[in-house]
Amino acid sequence: MLEIKNLHVEVADRKILQGFDLKVDAGQAHAIMGPNGSGKSTLAYVLAGKPGYTITEGSVTFDGEDLLELAPDERAAKGIFLAFQYPMEIPGVASMVFLRTALNAVRKRRGEPELSTPDFLRLVREKAKDLSIDQEMLKRAVNVGFSGGEKKRAEILQMSLLEPKLCVLDETDSGLDIDALKIVADGVNRLRSPNRSMIVITHYQRLLDYIVPDVVHIMAKGKIVRCGGPDLARELEERGYAAIEAEAA
């Protein structure tokens, strides 16, 4: 589904990704762990198409298509979803207007009919309930006045509405207490299916107790230095990044 080959990325002349490789098959969940500054968030942003990142080498193909050629909204329509580490607050844009605009834009590009107002409301209500998002929250502007946990749940709500093929979760666990973490993880797990893949970026093993990955990758200095099963995350938790990086080097 996703294949990243020898990816080199610079931001403002700083080399961030330096020969990054990753292959994610349909239905798989891959965890990417790594210390601060290893390039995890850069990877997430490059996949979503954020401006300001210069790709100097390498390729990213998604369903056989050159992903790097597509604009961020086209990538979303093709099925890429980035759950932000810090979701944006957008004063003046009502949550429901935002959700509906996004959903209908994506449906239109996928050749599906737009949803009627009652159908849309029903769908949002149902998905919001699963994530313990109350209707009052959805009456506010996008993410405005939301707590950290509410913002993360709102991200998962968007993700479940847009039905992506590849979900990229960028430190979705940061700033969550244990109850919120469970709600978010349950939301993500409900979305796991044979046709949908996940890239879960995190610092901590804890999230991976709830969202159990097929493969765990450890990233350092802009590339993957070690891969393994879920056990690797636990080993990392015990021994720390430094030890594993040293071994890999």
Binding site: P51, I90, V93, F98
Partner: protein, 445 residues
């Protein structure tokens, strides 16, 4: 002519002088009105058209912008009236519509049937012919500084509408004065209106300005507004003039004690436009809310110049203006709050904002506070900037195409300025009109 009048200089000023000389004897009204016109014209002749050297007109140099004065519009003919009838500028049901075509009251397009108790609506031309008692109020409200365009409007005083809402009357149905230019050739149009809201009365008043594209008509409209003690007026203004039009309008208001006045204005039309709003808070515990949105593209130039004069204690005022400027347009907002020595406990806040959508667009915002009292709360702020790229990226990652994402953010930027309109149908009509503007932006690229 008086000896102290300076010679009129530009061809436009000369043309205005000869238009005045040609028409003044033919205009309706008694000798008092004739004297009012005469005084106004000599005030105009004294100063000439305002240039950038006049502080209030610093960003809109009318002397340069108005090179050629179009002939004074005559009464509208049948085809002009038919054209005015064909168009609808505010698709809102149940408005009491009064139509002025080329500045003249048109009975067949005006609904004066079954006027509510204590509501009186009289065409100005009729009032002038009949020496209506309200005429005595015309020309009494003066802005803080003399304005040559207002003087011109008074000099050419001819038609418009007088509206009076009697004491304690609550008029549910909005009163809508529609100014339509429907001529095929460039012309100069004047209109003068007066609205008086009695003690404890409540009403909604709507004013719109419109005309055809590609006709370089020149409009000068003035509305004088008296809001008596404890009255409540919601005023909505929509300016959708044709793209070659020159529009100058003035709203002068005096708001008495305990009254509430909210004014919401949307500007999308005109090649060059200027709205003066000059409000005097003349009684204690009045509340004023001014909100405006201006959406411009092409080479449009729109200037909103606001003066709020807090003359007495314990009043509250809020000003929120938002300019959205695309291509090479230019948006000007000058907002001045004056707090007189007596006006203790004034609570005044002004927020101006400009969103620049293109490199070539220009925003000029000048908030000013003049405070002569010592126990007041006043604040003002002005911001300007481009669309937030981070927010745009967030919207794009949700599959929203760029133009649509921009439209959401633009709408969010000016939305608050239209929210204040209490009448739901009118609010929706303004939002819809603004949405049309955004849609045109999407399809153009």
């Amino acid at each position: 002519m008086n000896a102290d009048i300076r010679p009129i200089r530009t061809p436009a000023e000369q043309a205005l002088a000869s238009a005045y000389e040609d028409t003044k004897t033919r205009l309706p009204g008694g000798s008092e009105i004739a004297r009012l016109r005469e005084r106004a014209f000599s005030a105009f002749a004294d100063s000439g058209l305002p240039s950038r050297r006049v502080e209030e007109w610093k960003y809109t140099d009318l002397r340069t912008l108005l090179r050629e004065v179009a002939p004074l519009a005559g009464p509208p003919d049948a085809s002009a009236i038919a054209r005015a009838k064909e168009t609808v500028s505010l698709p809102v049901t149940n408005l009491r519509q009064i139509t002025l075509v080329n500045g003249a009251f048109v009975p067949e397009l005006s609904d004066l049937d079954g006027l509510e108790k204590k509501l009186s609506i009289v065409p100005l031309a009729t009032a002038l012919a009949e020496k209506h008692p309200l005429l005595g109020m015309i020309g009494k409200l003066r802005p803080e500084t003399r304005d040559a365009t207002l003087a011109l409007n008074t000099a050419f005083l001819n038609d418009g509408v007088l509206i009076e809402v009697g004491e304690g009357a609550v008029i549910e149905r909005p009163i809508y004065v529609r100014h339509v230019f429907a001529g095929g050739a460039a012309a100069m149009v004047f209109a003068r209106s007066l609205v008086s809201i009695g003690k404890g009365a409540a009403a909604t008043f709507v004013e719109s300005f419109e005309g055809p594209a590609d006709v370089a008509y020149q409009r000068n409209a003035t509305t004088e507004l008296y809001i008596a003690d404890r009255a409540n007026l919601s005023f909505v203004r929509l300016q959708t003039e044709g793209d070659s039009a020159l529009h100058v309008s003035s709203l002068l208001a005096e708001v008495a004690g305990g009254a509430e006045f909210s004014f919401s204005t949307l500007t999308v039309g005109g090649a060059v436009s200027r709205q003066n709003v000059s409000l005097r808070l003349a009684g204690e515990h009045t509340q004023i809310n001014l909100a405006g949105a201006t959406l411009l593209r092409g080479r449009q130039h729109a200037d909103s110049t606001l003066v709020l004069d807090h003359a007495v204690p314990n009043c509250t005022s809020r000003v929120t203006f938002r300019n959205v400027l695309d291509e090479t347009s230019r948006g000007v907002v000058q907002g001045r709050i004056v707090v007189r020595p007596d006006a203790q406990k004034t609570d005044a806040r002004m927020s101006l904002g400009a969103l620049l959508l293109a490199e070539g667009a220009e925003a000029d915002q000048k908030p000013e506070l003049e405070i002569f009292a010592d126990d007041v709360q006043c604040a003002h702020g002005a911001t300007s900037g481009a669309l937030d790229e981070q927010l745009l990226f967030y919207l794009l990652t949700r599959g929203i195409p760029r133009k649509q994402a921009e439209a959401l953010l633009i709408q969010a930027f000016f939305g608050a300025a239209l929210e204040e309109v209490r009448h739901e149908g009118l609010r929706e009509a303004l939002v819809e009109r603004a949405a049309d503007w955004l849609e045109l932006r999407g399809s153009a690229s």
